[in-house]
Symmetry: C2
Subunit: 398 residues, 2 copies
């Protein structure tokens, strides 16, 4: 099939583009290179030596003979170019990664909050409006987040998107309904993903668009089968306080002999998935699109959950690093449980890469190998969730 | 108190500005005049001869001695000017009407969908981000819509914003929760208001902003006590297919001797409120703000519900007009029930103006009085909800 990958130059988008191309699909990457440009803003780059996109595409062609095309455009801003591309190319599917995806970055300042809202909501809505206007029957697969569920459960496994509830009518009768899981986002970034869900529900209902929303856990790992084919195909590895997710931070800290910094009590439970499983899930999602007129297909794209402190202990046990507890910059409960259903992908044939089995390989093949490239001053998170958490605000603990 | 009225030149904003000024509050109107500019686009203006804003403000000063200030700016675009105004003026409250508010307009084309999303979501988010950045303890009162509830109830009165539900845990235990009422918007416009709710919930939780969200029914009526003081203060009356709401269309049609055009079976039930009650509700909402740290205060701002066909019969009975049934341009159920709680405003002292009592006055004092100004070709709605509903699309009824 022909697939557009919006955000196909990013951490998840790039290995997905290679994976789908390797499977024989015709892949067109659409990207505004914003993630590389944010590196310039934050003065923090990928630990791995990622190549310019032109070099990457050339390397892919030399290695496999497959061609991946690239269109540089901003889907949040260049609506008419996007529309024309859909009308002319008539893709079978669009995979939508084209959103600002770091919670700490979305909380850095008012400007970063506003950029995240403006970019993410207009990007998603432009794609939907363009599909309708084009009249092309495209399957849209969107990368959402487990964070829409709000990291809190009332003694039940988080279902895949929809929650069965009972309401009591005015006559005292109990009525069963199934609703979109009530959202409780923990950052501006996560909030935009809960708002995306409302876009999808509306366009699936009003225009019968075929939409899959993948609620993804925190992605770890760097290499996939395809990025391993040539060093010029190497994927990003972010270790900085904004884009580096908790596990990559630990791996980096372990590699350079720093203590692993755990926020608060480390009692936060999070869902995880390896990047190899991400690309496989997208393959599976594209193979099983919803029908026209079906509600949005929501799948939980994660394979295991861990408390942050347990994760730190796991990395410490495998590497000999120490664990250090520091103040939590986020505005969240200190401890939470998280039990998540992921039957849909397991039923489709996903075979998860486990943290236990894959962690040490990440430390040696990525974190230690490229440790000489790291700027250690970038590891701590400097974003805070509220004004009163900023260092130096009087009357409150820093 | 000092109050900013965002969108203070519009149909609800203008009489609200006058009402709050008459009560002795210091009022600053912030508006980009977008509603007047849309008149130019649609080539359809207010039936009543509204004056330029400068003339309106001058008339108010001459009539009452009160001064209302005006700042022309676009809150969706001019964030830093908005921020500076909040920092310098330190308002006690901001009333937020600054959104595109017509469902048919939001469905006219891809460009209109995108404008509505971009304008409404960025406007709301900019206000919230600016309040946080300013550090000023502002009470934000936002005009939402009954349409967030989706015009569908399962045998129960729609509560004021929050729904008590029961979920069954994995141990078979029933757990009670109260959630934001599950949204089911009927247009792009209504969808943006359901997304606004998620902005509010997040900022109330993360930043302890004090927010009131008023879920308003369809507003009817034109004059308030204050707009009656001088003819130059007259309020808008929209009768066109995009901005004219169902009741105003009927009044206009009755005034000029046209049949009242009912969409589909006319079985759609809608909630209504008179503009005099709107301004009183906002007065009451500003007098009873939530505390810091409280969840968003949601009130249903409506006073009665009617089926559209009953409304047509009511107008017909009072005016002698005929009723005509035409195809429904909207994508919605033909018939729906609607029972709504509005105890909160009644408890605060609201005394509703009833349709039965006030309708004929509207026909004589507005529709008949200004009928000579009407362009009757603008009355039919030309927006359709889906491509297949457009006239001339083969294979489907027009």
């Amino acid at each position: 099939m022909k697939v557009f990958i919006l955000g196909g130059d990013g951490f998840c988008g790039w290995p997905t583009s290679l994976h789908l191309s390797a499977l024989g699909h015709e892949v067109v990457i659409i990207d505004n290179l914003s993630r590389r440009n944010i590196d310039n803003e934050l003065e923090a780059g990928s630990l791995t030596p990622i190549q310019y996109l032109g070099t990457r595409l050339q390397a892919w062609k030399e290695t496999t003979g497959q061609e991946i095309r690239f269109e540089r455009l901003d889907v949040a801003q260049h609506y008419h170019r996007l529309l024309t591309l859909i009308e002319e190319e008539r893709p079978d599917a669009i995979v939508h990664f084209a959103e600002q995806r770091a919670a700490p970055y979305s909380m850095k300042s008012s400007a970063h909050k506003r950029y995240t809202v403006d970019n993410n909501l207009n990007a998603t809505h432009n794609v939907l409006a363009a599909i309708v206007e084009s009249g092309v029957d495209v399957h849209l697969a969107h990368l959402g987040t487990m964070g829409v569920y709000g990291y809190g459960t009332a003694g039940m496994k988080i279902p895949e998107g929809y929650l069965p509830i009972e309401v009591t009518t005015d006559d005292g009768e109990k009525v069963r309904q199934e609703i979109l899981y009530p959202p409780n986002p923990g950052s501006i970034y996560h909030m935009t993903k809960t708002q995306d869900q409302l876009f999808f529900a509306y366009y699936a209902k009003n225009d019968q668009l075929r939409i899959t929303d993948l609620h993804q856990g925190i992605v770890w790992g760097t290499h996939t089968k395809e990025t391993d084919l040539d060093e010029r195909l190497v994927n990003r590895f972010d270790y900085d306080g904004d884009y580096g997710t908790v596990l990559n931070r630990f791996l980096m800290q372990a590699a350079v002999g720093y203590p692993l910094t755990v926020h608060g009590t480390g009692g936060q439970t999070r869902a995880f998935i390896h990047i190899r499983d991400t690309v496989r899930c997208i393959e599976l999602a594209l193979e099983t699109p919803p029908e026209r007129g079906e509600r949005v297909r929501i799948l939980n794209q994660m394979t295991e959950t861990h408390r942050v402190r347990d994760l730190a202990e796991l990395v410490a046990a495998q590497t000999g690093a120490e664990v250090a507890y520091v103040d939590n910059p986020r505005n969240e409960d200190a401890e939470n449980d998280l039990h998540v259903k992921n039957d849909l992908f397991l039923d489709l044939g996903l075979e998860p890469t486990t943290l236990e089995g894959g962690l040490l390989d990440e430390v040696t093949s990525v974190a230690r190998k490229y440790a000489h490239r790291a700027d250690l001053s970038k590891i701590p998170s400097t974003s805070t969730w509220t004004e009163r958490q900023k260092p130096g605000v009087p009357g409150e603990p820093a």
